[in-house]
């Protein structure tokens, strides 16, 4: 029992838990067999009790039966079920409530595991989804083993002692190392999945890096601290030393769950215009809010109610499964809606400062916007076809006149490089440190973005990328002078190899092609997810 949660109270005295002198009489053991009846002059009887309180017996007692238990046993049972404490005998703490609670947790976990494994989603975020499936399978396996052991133990006590002891279930998951290990692994994986979900909520690479580092460190720390007391109980004999750690670990876990719930609800509020695009989306949003608040709410109930704390690990597993799987489902559908809206913009997706060089995307968007504005103003003034055709020619000239600016900007960057070459020793040292930091950030980006999402930044350039870039230029016909393409539709090229990863690399080439000023191309490229919606 967790002593730090419950101060021991004086238990009521139950006479039937002590040996009772019944005097002389006849004992008839049933079912009847030879010499079943015995006369004895001194009979002593003691009821089966668990920690000095009565327990529920498995006897069938028909309504028409004139035979009853001993008066002492009946009085003790009536006294026991009046005690409204978790060690008492109220109906909400009876074996029926315990069985129904465990059953609900088991079925919910298994169903969400099936939903998670069967659901076919896009190519994005594959590794987080695989981690989520493994964690769900572990949680289902854990609860299945737990339920099997519970039923087996109840059956044994039913046959050997003729009683049903609700408290025997409470000790399975704290004494059983199988449950502890599987629960640890499942919780660790679910918290990693929650870190992945939070990474997915933000779009900038800088925010993704911060969340990745903080999330992984907090998850590993919380789980290592959580698992120390159960393992310490099995290895060392100094048990009381590690029990002091439990309250702080518990508060730490509550803090992490509350942080996750806050971030998710904040983003739900930010996206509130997308709630009722579909009826499904509204229902799923409401369900996500309830499910995300379930984990902190359960922790609060856990501290205040010791009965819930006894079944805490079972509820814990179910809360992690629901808050992760349903939030993931909500995020999948939200991304579909978001991409449909982003596809209507000029560039097709949001662009961040760190992704571009010399603000080429912004310049391109401004040029397109200016062209559209100018065309609309001219169409409003005149209706003749000759004038409209002349305006198109003017647009072409306007676009071509911006090209020399890119040359100038390229020249500026060359000048900057020359300036850095003349630096002093201090500048060289700072350059080395910056290079090391960039390398670490590059490595982190590879982990975060290739595992979690698309490679939004174009920081990786290698031989393969250049080769694919040349291929795209060849396909678009940009390798010849005097050819212009004015296409605003989604152009998705399949790679020569039927591999999804290479297709993603090809999409990166398209971004680079669109951002280069040397090519006289005004084509816009949108995310490949639009083609798969």
């Amino acid at each position: 029992m967790n002593l730090w949660r419950h101060s021991p109270e004086e238990l009521a005295a139950y006479n039937s838990c002590h040996p009772m002198k019944l005097g002389s009489g006849v004992l008839i053991q049933l079912p009847l067999y030879d010499n079943s009846a015995v006369y004895a002059e001194d009979i002593t009887f003691r009821s089966f009790c668990c920690e000095r309180v009565p327990v529920y017996v498995s006897t069938v007692l028909r309504n028409s039966s004139p035979y009853r238990y001993l008066d002492e046993v009946i009085n003790d049972w009536q006294k026991f079920i009046q005690v409204s404490d978790y060690v008492g005998g109220s109906a909400e703490y009876a074996i029926y409530a315990v069985i129904l609670s465990i059953t609900s947790n088991f079925v919910i976990t298994v169903f969400l595991t099936v939903i998670c494994c069967i659901n076919i989603s896009g190519r994005a975020y594959k590794r987080i989804l695989q981690l989520l499936r493994i964690a769900s399978l572990l949680a289902s396996l854990n609860l299945t083993i737990f339920i099997t052991k519970v039923l087996r133990r109840l059956e044994k006590e039913h046959n050997v002692y003729g009683v049903v002891r609700a408290h025997s279930i409470m000790h399975i998951f704290s004494d059983d190392m199988t449950f502890v290990v599987l629960d640890f692994l499942a919780t660790l994986m679910f918290q990693f999945c929650q870190v992945g979900i939070v990474i997915r909520l933000f779009q900038r690479a800088q925010e993704k890096r911060i969340i990745f580092f903080i999330g992984v460190i907090l998850t590993i720390t919380a789980n290592i601290l959580w698992v120390i007391p159960p393992f310490a109980n099995h290895t060392t004999k100094h048990r009381n030393d590690w029990q002091i750690l439990r309250p702080f670990v518990y508060l730490f876990r509550i803090a992490i769950a509350t942080s996750y719930a806050s971030i998710v609800i904040y983003h739900i509020w930010q996206k509130k215009k997308l709630w009722f695009k579909f009826n499904q989306m509204g229902l799923l949003t409401l369900l996500t809010i309830l499910v995300v608040l379930l984990l902190p709410g359960f922790f609060l109930a856990d501290v205040s109610n010791l009965w819930i704390s006894e079944l805490g690990e079972v509820f814990n597993t179910t809360c992690y499964v629901t808050s992760t799987v349903i939030t993931w489902e909500w995020l999948d559908r939200l991304n579909v809606l978001e991409r449909k809206e982003e596809a209507q913009s000029i560039l097709g997706r949001p662009i961040f400062e760190e992704e571009q060089q010399d603000y080429r995307f912004a310049k391109y968007a401004l040029r397109v916007q200016n062209a559209l504005t100018r065309r609309e103003s001219q169409d409003a003034s005149t209706d003749r076809h000759d004038t409209s055709s002349n305006s198109e020619v003017c647009d072409l000239q306007t676009i071509s006149r911006y090209d020399p600016e890119d040359q100038i900007s390229v020249g500026r960057s060359i000048d900057r490089m020359h300036f850095n070459d003349r630096g002093t020793y201090k500048d060289v040292a700072l350059k080395k440190l910056g290079y090391a930091r960039d390398k670490i950030l590059y490595f982190t980006d590879q982990i975060v973005q290739k595992s979690v999402g698309h490679n939004n930044s174009s920081s990786s350039k290698n031989e393969k990328t250049k080769q694919r870039k040349a291929m795209v230029r060849k396909r678009l016909g940009l390798d010849k002078p005097g050819i212009y393409i004015y296409s605003t539709k989604d152009v998705v090229f399949n790679s020569d190899e039927d591999d999804d990863e290479n297709a993603e690399d090809e999409d990166d080439d398209e971004y680079e092609v669109g951002s280069e000023g040397n090519n006289n191309s005004s084509a816009t490229f949108t995310s490949d997810h639009i083609g798969h919606i």
Binding site: P19, T44, L61, I346, S487
Partner: protein, 619 residues
């Protein structure tokens, strides 16, 4: 997973069934010292009990003229009726007992009571000599004199664990929560799934969930609380108070009717959306589809529900039970056969996608690789569905075969599996449709067409006269698949639709025709002519360099399309124009033209090797 739950439950049932012959002996798992010596001092002190457990001692069989007495009647006649104010009978159970007697030379015997026993005391157990003699004589009479029958199971006893209240609680909780989770699955199926448009599934799953919840709440209020309050467990009360009541039976019947309606609807949906079955052994009249399916489905459903209703209210007829199970398994077999047939046959395009690589490379390794790439995401779904289908067979036959020893509440698992199968089939259909839509976008046209499509055939040639117009429109509504000569498929259901290959044009010529039609439309709309960009290409494209020009030519008509509506922004054009309905087809044609093409093959040959489908609902 529910399967593991079923397996564990079935293992316990098998264990219990192995002990059916020794029902009462299995319940008597007590620790007994072998050398208990009861009886008056006149008997031998060293006599031990025999190992067998016959109800009557063997030496009593020659006393046939003495009638049999019930144990409870004997207790009443000998003790309670004579000494009703002094002697009492109590039940001892769930505890430890210690017996001692003077005649046993100060030896004491200890027992663990796991089965209820009777304790008879007179004058509150005081050592009254008169009552001692009466009780000792009573013990002698029971053990030696009378032919005693044990009728105590009418009043007290203990249920075996697999049939007890704990297992009933476990099963009821599982079924109730599982049905609500299925309702959540139905609500959260993708919005383009057809489950959203058919409220029949919602009604069925919601009704099942509500009745499970109502009966579970009633079980908690009527059975669990009262039994816990009085410290006993009686599984037969659940049967008599819950399962045997009329509202429960009516709800079971309504759920069965809703299940049959859903299954008929699934078969009708598959037939009406994916064509008629091409079974050659069925007469032509049967192939008209909808009418026959509904008629046969209603007939089978009526027979099933009539038998089920009779079985609910009259459970003693074994022949009726066998006949009902046969009808149920027949309906289920027909249903699963239709599901498997349509899954394989109508989604064969998904399961065995025919791409250019199969035609160029006939290696088995390549085929397996392509099959895995297109198909590996649906393998868990198909495996899960097959497992559920087999589990339904197993549980239905198992519970029916051993229903004498198993209470009626175990059939709730079978009813839960029916709901699960209904939802799973809709989920399977939705996922396969999504996969079909995804893969069809990789073809040249990205959608299905037939000869009536004006861009597929040459519009200047009238293939059919006015007399065939209605018939062709009927074919279009049935969405028959068109085939080309280079592709051999298993169904050529309509011989009227000829192969379009004699009139097939190269893509270059089709582009020219499209450009002419645009000029005609432009002159009709009184738009001025714009100067054309680029030049016409000569000859067929044979290299990738020529392919880039080919794609360049495909982009130009869209550019002209954009110039007709200059007020629209560039982003808005991505949604497609609704002014001209033909513009969408242009956009779809050119969107997915960028497929991997081998250098050795020409464009025309490549186009002919692809499937051409008409998929009007693809959004």
């Amino acid at each position: 997973m529910i399967i593991r739950l079923h397996f564990y439950y079935l293992l316990t049932l098998v264990y219990h069934l192995g002990l059916v012959g020794a029902y009462e002996k299995a319940a008597r798992k007590r620790i007994q010292p072998p050398d208990l010596i009861p009886g008056p001092p006149g008997h031998k002190l060293g006599d031990e009990r025999p190992p067998h457990y016959d109800h009557r001692p063997p030496y009593k069989k020659h006393i046939d003229n003495i009638p049999a007495y019930n144990l409870t009647d004997l207790i009443d006649d000998k003790l309670l009726n004579k000494y009703e104010n002094s002697c009492t009978v109590n039940v001892l159970t769930g505890g430890f007992i210690s017996l001692a007697s003077n005649s046993w030379h100060l030896r004491a015997y200890n027992y663990t009571l796991n089965y209820p026993s009777f304790l008879i005391r007179c004058d509150n157990g005081s050592a009254n000599p008169n009552f001692s003699h009466v009780l000792q004589d009573f013990v002698y009479d029971i053990n030696n004199k009378f032919n005693v029958q044990d009728d105590s199971s009418k009043y007290i006893g203990k249920d075996p664990f697999p049939l007890g209240m704990i297992m009933i609680t476990f099963a009821s909780g599982c079924i109730c929560v599982a049905t609500w989770m299925l309702f959540l699955v139905v609500l959260l199926l993708p919005s383009d799934n057809h489950n959203r448009r058919n409220k029949v599934v919602h009604v069925y799953v919601l009704f099942s969930a509500i009745i499970r919840t109502v009966f579970l709440n009633e079980t908690i209020a009527v059975i669990f609380d009262s039994q816990y309050h009085d410290d006993y467990q009686d599984a037969s009360q659940f049967e008599s108070f819950i399962v045997e009541t009329a509202p429960y039976k009516i709800c079971e019947l309504v759920a069965n009717i809703l299940s049959d309606i859903n299954w008929i609807y699934i078969v009708h949906y598959l037939q009406s959306n994916y064509g008629k079955p091409t079974w050659n052994w069925i007469p032509f009249k049967m192939k008209k589809g909808t009418h026959i399916i509904i008629t046969v489905g209603c007939f089978l459903s009526l027979a099933d529900n009539i038998l089920f209703a009779n079985l609910l209210w009259r459970k003693n007829l074994v022949v009726l039970k066998v006949f009902y199970k046969l009808i149920e398994l027949l309906i289920y077999t027909i249903f699963i056969s239709i599901i498997c047939y349509f899954t394989w046959h109508n989604f064969a395009y998904i399961l065995l996608p025919k791409t250019a690589e199969i035609n160029t490379d006939g290696k088995c390794k390549t085929k397996l690789r392509i099959l895995w790439e297109n198909y590996h995401e649906t393998i868990p779904l198909l495996a899960y569905n097959i497992l559920i289908f087999i589990l339904f067979y197993f549980t239905t036959i198992f519970f029916a075969a051993f229903t004498k020893h198993v209470r009626g509440w175990t059939f709730n698992f079978v009813h839960l599996l029916k709901v699960l199968i209904t939802v799973n089939v809709w989920g399977l259909i939705g996922v396969l449709e999504k996969r079909e839509l995804h893969i069809s976008k990789k073809t040249v046209l990205g959608r299905k067409i037939n000869n009536r499509d004006k861009f597929f055939a040459n519009p200047t040639v009238n293939y059919y006269g006015e007399d065939l117009g209605k018939h062709l429109s009927a074919i279009t509504l049935n969405r028959d698949l068109n085939t080309t000569k280079s592709n051999t498929t298993s169904h050529d259901s309509s011989s009227l639709v000829g192969s379009p290959s004699p009139t097939w044009k190269s893509p270059i010529e089709r582009i020219r025709d499209r450009r002419r039609r645009h000029k005609i439309m432009k002159s009709e709309n009184k738009f001025g002519q714009n100067p054309s960009f680029g030049s016409k290409s000569n000859g067929k494209p044979n290299t990738k360099t020529t392919l880039s020009k080919y794609r360049q030519l495909l982009r130009k008509p869209r550019r002209k399309t954009n110039s007709y509506e200059p007020k629209n922004g560039i982003g808005q054009n991505k949604e497609g124009s609704t002014v001209r309905p033909g513009a969408d087809k242009h956009i779809r044609d050119s969107n997915y033209l960028a497929t991997d093409i081998s250098d050795n093959e020409s464009m025309e040959t490549e186009l002919r090797t692809n499937h051409i489908y008409n998929y009007e609902n693809s959004d």
